[in-house]
């Protein structure tokens, strides 16, 4: 029974003497004993097996034991007297001929479960299915739940006889796991239902549940999606949350963003190489947005990195990209630039991030900390160390909403305290917690991209009209620089990120809608792009959309058409993707 010995590539060898297959010596760490090794006499089996056991023990590092010291000499059960008889030689016969030719005789079954008969196998061979694999596949021989345990050799023998060749020449089909069928759930074990994949929660997860949040799956994370009031639909809740941020102040749990602590005297140089923009001159106390590309020049992550000290930075990544970015930094440092003195460690779980955003954000923050919040000294894109309600914090004045905005980072264990205080002090400003639904709308109003939604791995910084984030004169060729200068990446008519405004201000385009230039063209239509993000902007009172359109940056103002799946074709105009506060005044206030 050699099923198992074949699973990793062993091929059994036919023994004419034994009328059976024996294992080959493919695997040096495996041996067969007893009948599986062609040994049928009981006393020999016991003797041979004991020796095999001793040898295996030695080979696995137990060579120092003395076998006999463990044996009760009086009664060695491994050397028993067994009545044996001399077996006479077996005959290699498989298929008993019938008085009639096989095709005329009553059915002679080879594989019972699938009703494969000797006549069927002979017919298959006659039709030209001569390889044993062909026979197996044509007749279904050995396909049953017993995997041909009692049928395979007979089948091979019949094929061999028909083709006038030996069983060894005919060969076997390949045994695959499993030896006998295995219950699905036994294989999955406990990794089912809620344990199918790890669920990651921010330190504030229970607070979100208390506030009635619904959650969105982002990677393994559960992120608050929106916080509906009684009977509110998602659209209503998001509209309310959006307006609250634009007119008052909102609160977002941004703890899921990846955070990587980078230190070392070459940290700047390292950032220069992995980001497309320049980092040499970023002063301590300042933050900068960066784009990360692959060697092919395509954007794969973005985020803000702050300079904590001359040789110390903290990098943020997208929620879904955190693990990948961390690995990316490691591989480049270890394999290509081991000479750079730089160290990094992921601190995503160590810090909780609460973002307060909106025109009243500073008033709220002022109640929680004593540091100088004067916008002249704590400017947009600055960060400060601070004591926030007694908790040591880092406050980043950065904005993904376009409003005055502070990201308060606190050690994860203090997150709940700070959150509770924020809600308490926030009451007078009607502080409104908001989720990813609202965050998406607010950033789209500002034309900020979400990597993975507005990009798909085929978008360069230039396609995003973000050439400003690509340094032209860095001494070292940063990752992606060569890739984004390949012939195809320099074409003018690449798909580029633009905004779309529908003719009817209330019409929200479906995300994923395809864009054409000429309506009424026959199928297949010539598609020039698609909608990547699309929402109704409560603040602006009309719908907004981001899209990629071929040569879109040069087509501002042009009409495009979107044939929807309900049959309707919607007209829209290409515009700048920055819909709200294009001067960026509000975030600077």
């Amino acid at each position: 029974m050699l099923h198992l010995s074949c699973h990793t590539g062993g091929r059994p060898i036919w023994s004419d003497a034994l009328c059976a297959f024996l294992a080959d010596d493919f695997n040096k760490e495996m041996q067969c004993v007893g009948a599986a090794n062609g040994q049928y006499a009981l006393d020999k089996i016991i003797e041979e097996s004991v020796i095999a056991g001793i040898n295996a023990a030695k080979l696995s590092g137990n060579e120092n034991h003395d076998f006999s010291s463990n044996v009760n000499k009086e009664l060695d059960i491994l050397k028993p007297k067994v009545e044996t008889y001399l077996a006479s030689k077996a005959q290699a016969i498989f298929h008993i001929p019938h008085a009639k030719a096989t095709f005329m005789a009553p059915k002679q079954f080879v594989d019972f479960q699938l009703d494969v008969t000797a006549a069927g196998i002979e017919l298959a061979v006659a039709e030209g299915f001569e390889s044993i694999e062909h026979v197996k596949r044509y007749t279904a021989l050995g396909f049953g739940t017993d995997q041909g345990k009692i049928s395979n050799i007979n089948g091979m023998a019949i094929v061999a006889k028909k083709l006038k060749q030996s069983i060894a020449e005919t060969g076997t089909t390949i045994f695959r796991p499993n030896y006998t069928p295995v219950t699905f759930d036994a294989i999955a074990g406990r990794n089912v239902n809620s344990f199918f994949d790890v669920e990651r929660y921010t330190p504030l997860h229970r607070e979100h549940i208390k506030l009635g949040a619904l959650f969105e799956d982002v990677g393994q994370w559960k992120r608050p999606w929106y916080y509906p009031d009684d009977n509110e639909t998602m659209n209503e809740a998001v509209a309310r949350e959006c307006l609250a941020v634009r007119s008052g102040v909102g609160l977002l749990d941004a703890s899921t963003l990846g955070k990587i602590d980078i230190q070392g005297k070459d940290a700047r140089e390292f950032l220069n190489r992995v980001y497309t923009n320049a980092w040499s001159k970023l002063p301590v106390g300042r933050c900068r947005y960066g784009l990360m590309c692959g060697e092919d020049g395509m954007v794969f992550d973005d985020g803000v990195t702050a300079c904590l000290a001359e040789n110390h930075f903290i990098m943020t990544t997208t929620t879904g990209g955190a693990a990948h970015v961390y690995q990316w930094l490691e591989i480049w440092h270890q394999t290509e630039w081991p000479e750079l003195d730089v160290y990094f460690t992921t601190v995503t779980d160590q810090w909780a991030t609460m973002t307060i955003s909106g025109p009243k954000a500073r008033f709220l923050l002022a109640k929680m900390t004593d540091i100088d919040l004067n916008p002249e000294s704590f400017k947009f894109m600055d960060w400060r160390e601070a004591d926030v309600v007694g908790v040591p914090s880092r406050i980043f004045r950065i904005s993904f909403t376009g409003e005055q905005s502070y990201e308060i980072n606190v050690p994860a264990n203090y997150a709940v305290v700070v959150w509770e205080k924020l809600l308490e002090y926030g009451q007078e400003f009607e502080l409104t917690p908001y989720g990813t639904g609202t965050m998406h709308v607010l950033r789209a109003e500002k034309g900020f991209i979400i990597v993975g939604q507005d990009t798909d791995g085929s978008v360069t910084p230039a396609d995003l009209n973000m050439g400003w984030a690509v340094a032209k004169n860095k001494p070292f060729s940063f990752i992606g620089q060569r890739g984004m200068n390949r012939e195809d990446c320099l074409r003018e008519d690449r798909k580029q990120l633009v905004g779309l405004k529908t003719k009817h201000p209330n019409q929200v385009l479906p995300e994923g809608a395809q864009i054409i230039l000429q309506p009424n063209q026959p199928i297949p239509m010539k598609m020039v792009g698609h909608v990547t993000s699309s929402y109704f902007s409560a603040a602006l009172g009309h719908s907004i959309a981001m899209a990629v359109v071929k040569n879109g940056i040069n087509k501002l103002g042009d009409s495009v058409y979107l044939p929807l799946d309900n049959g309707e074709t919607v007209e829209a105009n290409i515009c700048s993707p920055i819909f709200y506060d294009p001067e960026g005044a509000k975030q600077n206030v």
Binding site: Q327, T335, R482
Partner: protein, 108 residues
């Protein structure tokens, strides 16, 4: 499932702890901007992909997180050895193999 000896941890560990990062010993051009599209494409995408001996870059992701090389057989799955990134001996062996092979390399 492989049993891999991590040369940094100096211990045999199960495959689940590791992640493969593709072919090893691929040289990044020293001055990428000076390469032609063809040279850059070769570096970026074209791989030796042999049936037989192969040197691969792996990371001990649930462990020391260090990258290292595995020299193994892609057909039998036998692992010949694992070695650290700064071990240059295989690099030399590889160059020899290449110089024997790439007769038509310049046609591409």
């Amino acid at each position: 499932m492989f049993l891999i000896h991590c040369p940094i941890c100096n211990e045999p560990r199960s495959e689940d702890e590791f992640h493969c990062a593709g072919e090893g010993h691929i040289q990044r051009p020293l001055d990428p901007m000076a390469t032609s599209d063809k040279e850059w494409g070769d570096y970026l995408f074209f791989r030796s992909n042999p049936r037989g001996t192969y040197r691969e870059l792996w990371q001990h992701t649930i462990g020391c997180r260090k990258y290292f090389y595995i020299k193994r057989n892609t057909e039998t799955y036998q692992i010949y050895k694992t070695y650290k990134l700064d071990d240059k001996s295989e690099r030399v062996a590889l160059d020899k193999e290449h110089s024997n092979k790439n007769k038509f390399g310049d046609l591409l």
